[in-house]
């Protein structure tokens, strides 16, 4: 599994597209945090990274599918999946190798945003005037969110051998799961069930974790959704229907 994981990371960073994707992610978070008037730290009055964590899920919706789209789709298209699947590896080892490889790439893309934290830390009216606990909570939320989105991306990459299709499926599915249920819950006719419906969506749980309260129910939610998508991926690949 580690062999697949390492190969996944190396394959991603061997293409120029990788640096463009990561660059766009960092540029976008930087812009929202420092430049755009609605969200910029300097205009906002008090030092915080809230705008980073508000915008990051929407950037993840595009960043992560771009990372995962080639993962399995490319192997199916080029026939190299047959190469992997006829070696002494289980389908689970292949899938988890690819899953954790992509997750590691996402973490690497996220790491440079820590610079923003240290900058805000230094910049505060009194030095260190930033809610570190909340930042840790927000990063945890982002990590768990990334975990689900990567699982969605890997599944999308397994159902097709076309990278563009994989990307599109992953973006839509991620968006729908993140904010679709929240929007649904606001529909007038569904008012009675609104909290229930909102609880299916990721946004509710993401915001709860981001507040810095680690509730086991949220952890179970993230873990079970991630596992759910990986199990479907295994089922899809196990069928060998392409």
């Amino acid at each position: 599994m580690l062999t697949i994981l390492r190969k996944e990371i190396a394959a991603f960073f061997s293409s120029l597209v990788a640096y463009i994707i990561v660059g766009i992610f960092l540029a976008a978070t930087g812009l929202f945090l420092w430049v755009f008037p609605d969200s910029a730290v300097l205009d906002y009055g008090y030092a915080g990274l809230d705008s980073l964590f508000d915008i990051a899920p929407y950037l993840f919706m595009f960043l992560i599918p771009a990372v995962t789209m080639r993962s399995i789709a490319e192997e199916k298209k080029e026939g190299t999946f047959e190469l992997l699947a006829t070696r002494p590896l289980t389908d689970w080892q292949i899938i988890l190798g690819k899953y954790f490889g992509s997750l590691a790439i996402v973490l690497m893309a996220m790491a440079p945003t820590l610079i923003y934290y240290f900058t805000v830390y230094e910049l505060g009216a009194t030095r260190g005037n930033v809610d570190t606990g909340a930042v840790i909570g927000s990063y945890t939320g982002l990590f768990l969110l990334g975990g689900i989105f990567v699982a969605i991306g890997i599944l999308a990459s397994a159902v097709t051998s076309n990278q563009v299709v994989a990307f599109t499926i992953a973006v839509f599915l991620s968006f729908f799961l993140f904010s679709g249920f929240d929007s649904l819950s606001r529909l007038v006719s569904l008012q009675q069930a609104d909290t229930l419906i909102a609880a299916i969506g990721i946004m509710e749980h993401y915001q709860s974790v981001s507040r810095g309260v680690l509730d086991t129910r949220d952890l179970v939610y993230f873990a079970s959704f991630t596992l759910f998508f990986l199990v479907i991926t295994k089922t899809v690949l196990g069928g060998r229907k392409w």
């Binding site: 697949i4 190969k7 293409s15 026939g79 006829t86 002494p88 590896l89």
Partner: protein, 241 residues
């Protein structure tokens, strides 16, 4: 017996890709698996390497059941899939190292340089796979197939698309490998089968139409080349025997 196939059937939807076929392959012999396009050669090989499951019937490789003992089967088999899929962005040695790691080989560097020597990749070993000619890519595919010193080799059209010089090199390699292993390889070229194989199995539309030592096949059809035998068994006016 290294490979034993009994009443193996594979359905794709309604279509029977192979229909209750049975054959055996022994160590120290090269088995030629011949048949026209769409006969079911690749399907059979994919079942034998535990890539796809059969619909019914049974197959074992070195005593391991392909459906129930997939990992054991894959440990003893070296497989070159049809069209020789490879990672073009990897260097030759990287690609071999990747496969060696999957097998968890201890003497990795030694094995890599061994198979580079065996397959004649020496001059090209520092290039990216994407930069190699078709003949050399085929050697990389073969090198990957034999890196873990498998007891059984399954090669799906290993010589397709090669020029005559490359052909003779690969054929010799297959013969040499077959001296101590069980080799099953498929081809369209009858002269090649005549030159390389000890044992011939011909499949047509999912059914085995010949299964014999090359010498006895010639005895049954005196004075005919393998090509003529092949056409008479698989042509549209073939007479079932």
């Amino acid at each position: 017996m290294s490979i034993a196939v009994e009443h193996l059937t594979k359905l794709f939807g309604q279509q029977k890709a192979i229909d209750s076929i049975s054959f055996r392959a022994e160590p120290g012999k090269v088995m030629g698996f011949l048949g026209p396009n769409g006969a079911g050669k690749s399907t059979t090989m994919r079942i034998l390497t535990s890539f796809i499951p059969q619909t019914s019937g049974r197959a074992t490789v070195c005593g391991f059941d392909v459906a129930r003992e997939a990992l054991e089967v894959r440990r003893v088999v070296g497989y070159l899939p049809e069209h020789n899929p490879l990672y073009p962005e990897l260097y030759v040695k990287e690609s071999l190292g990747f496969v060696a790691n999957i097998h968890g080989l201890q003497n990795k560097r030694q094995r890599i340089s061994d198979v580079i020597g065996l397959t004649g990749l020496g001059d090209e070993q520092h290039k990216k796979i994407g930069q190699l000619s078709k003949g050399y890519r085929q050697r990389v595919g073969l090198a990957q197939a034999i890196i873990h010193d498998p007891k059984v080799l399954i090669l799906d059209e290993p010589t397709s698309g090669l020029d005559p010089n490359q052909l003779s090199g690969i054929r010799k390699l297959i013969r040499d490998l077959g001296a101590s292993r069980t080799v099953v390889f498929s081809t369209h070229i009858m002269q090649e089968a005549e030159a390389v194989c000890d044992h011939i199995v011909i499949i047509n539309k999912g059914n085995i139409v010949a299964d014999d030592a090359l010498s006895s096949l010639r005895g049954v059809h005196p004075g005919r080349t393998l090509e003529e035998i092949f056409i008479s068994l698989t042509g549209s006016n073939a007479i079932a025997h």
